[in-house]
């Protein structure tokens, strides 16, 4: 996994979910908290800042932030 992309995705997740703790690739969406609006905010940030569009419905079936970061990396290739 590209560390730089992971760090950017983790920063967006912290902001979207207003999460105070540390985010690792194993941090789950369950730990971040429920809420589709927060997930929408996260995917919008990723699209706006990294120009990588990952549909929300795909993210909804992901377990961890690491999975999302890998998917974003794939989209950016």
């Amino acid at each position: 996994m590209n560390q730089e992309i992971f760090e950017q995705v983790a920063a967006f997740a912290k902001s979207a979910y207003k999460f105070e703790g540390d985010i690792t690739p194993d941090t789950t969406f369950e730990e971040l908290g429920r809420g589709s609006m927060k997930m929408i905010a996260l995917t919008s940030m990723i699209e706006n800042e990294l120009d990588a569009e990952v549909p929300v419905r795909e993210v909804m079936v992901m377990k961890t932030i690491g999975e999302l970061a890998s998917r974003v990396e794939e989209e950016m290739e």
């Binding site: 609006m37 929408i40 699209e47 706006n48 569009e53 419905r57």
Partner: protein
């Protein structure tokens, strides 16, 4: 407003008259589908809505000709028109609800569902109607993303209205219900949100003074367990959030709709007990099963589910919906949009 109150029989007829009195603008992003296009042609010809088809203009015209359908009076938003796409994109980017940068906004100009929702955000249309080609989940997510949730709403949900033949309860044989279709296992906060949104939806549609009962297997503490606690917590949250609404519970079904049962089981004054005209199920299991029991044992017509909780009226239909069902759903959406437009106008004043 007694003249606009809707009662049974003839719910749909009354709603059609109201829709035709002030046609709302409805965007259809799935006009290439034959059933949807036939419904659009009927809605426009009957003066029930000002229809706007969103798609490839040339393809829509070709399909209409091939199907022998007149789209006279129907506006076409051509997603292949680059100049118009650029103008629309510029307006969208300037709107406070736009969450995208130019590239993201531009790519959505050529996607019919998202473009239709953007037209709604811009105020160019009052209703967005889809569902014959897009899954409900995709419509909900797209609408949450582009239109957003109304203030104070915790979750998207749905409600409906049943017209029960030979029953004089509810509101002259009609009864509202929510949520049988969207929110699977609502938290207390979400259940409160469903109750409040359903009150608004049913009032907009019918003009009733809504009396909303939160249903349970317990009446006023006759049982004591976590399922009851959830409903009671939802009642308290809903009342605190919307003291203007008549919401009460927890009630069993009979205590909610029968005055004689309420008199025995509810030992306190209540505006709702025994005379509820809106029922809120504790979860989707109860909701789905209850609606099917009502339909199958009483021969009731059940209208809906109507999506609710968005800033604007977004409507979804079944992928197998026939023309008549689509027309009915659009009519209901238009009546709700009239009420929303009136409410927004009052806010401006």
């Amino acid at each position: 407003m007694p003249s606009t109150r809707v009662t049974s029989p003839g719910l749909m007829e009354a709603l059609r008259r109201r829709a035709a009195a002030r046609p709302m603008r409805v965007a259809f992003p799935e006009g290439d589908d034959e059933t949807m296009m036939r419904a659009v042609a009927e809605l426009q010809a009957d003066g029930l809505a000002q229809c706007v088809l969103v798609g490839d203009g040339a393809e829509l015209a070709r399909l209409a000709g091939e199907r022998g359908l007149s789209l006279e009076g129907v506006e076409i938003i051509d997603i292949a028109d680059e100049a118009e796409n650029a103008r629309c994109c510029e307006r969208y980017l300037a709107h406070p609800d736009c969450r995208y940068k130019p590239k993201g906004a531009a790519r959505r100009m050529t996607r019919p569902l998202e473009r239709a929702l953007i037209l709604q955000v811009l105020g160019d249309v009052d209703v967005m109607f889809a569902g014959i080609a897009n899954a409900t989940g995709d419509i909900i997510l797209a609408a949450q993303t582009i239109v957003g949730l109304a203030e104070g709403v915790a979750t998207v949900s749905s409600c409906g209205i049943a017209e029960v033949p030979g029953w004089d309860g509810g509101e002259g044989g009609l009864i509202g219900f929510g949520d049988s279709a969207v929110c699977v296992d609502p938290t207390p906060g979400e259940l409160a949100s469903i109750a409040c949104a359903s009150c608004d939806t049913v009032a907009a549609l019918t003009g009733w003074d809504v009396r909303c009962a939160l249903l349970s297997h317990s009446t006023d503490g006759s049982m004591d367990n976590a399922l009851v606690d959830k409903v009671r917590a939802a009642r308290d949250i809903a009342r605190a959030a919307r003291p203007d609404l008549a919401i009460d519970g927890e009630f069993q079904f009979d205590a909610a709709v029968r005055a004689d049962v309420a008199a025995k089981k509810v030992g306190r004054p209540s505006d709702v007990a025994g005379r509820a005209n809106l029922l809120i199920w504790p979860d989707i299991n109860v909701g789905n099963i209850a609606v099917k029991i009502i339909q199958n044992l009483t021969g009731a017509d059940a209208y809906g589910p109507m999506l609710q909780g968005f800033k604007r009226i977004v409507c979804d239909c079944s992928r197998s919906a026939p023309v008549s069902e689509i027309v009915g759903n659009v009519v209901m959406s238009c009546v709700r949009a009239q009420a929303l437009a009136d409410a927004l106008a009052r806010e401006v004043r």
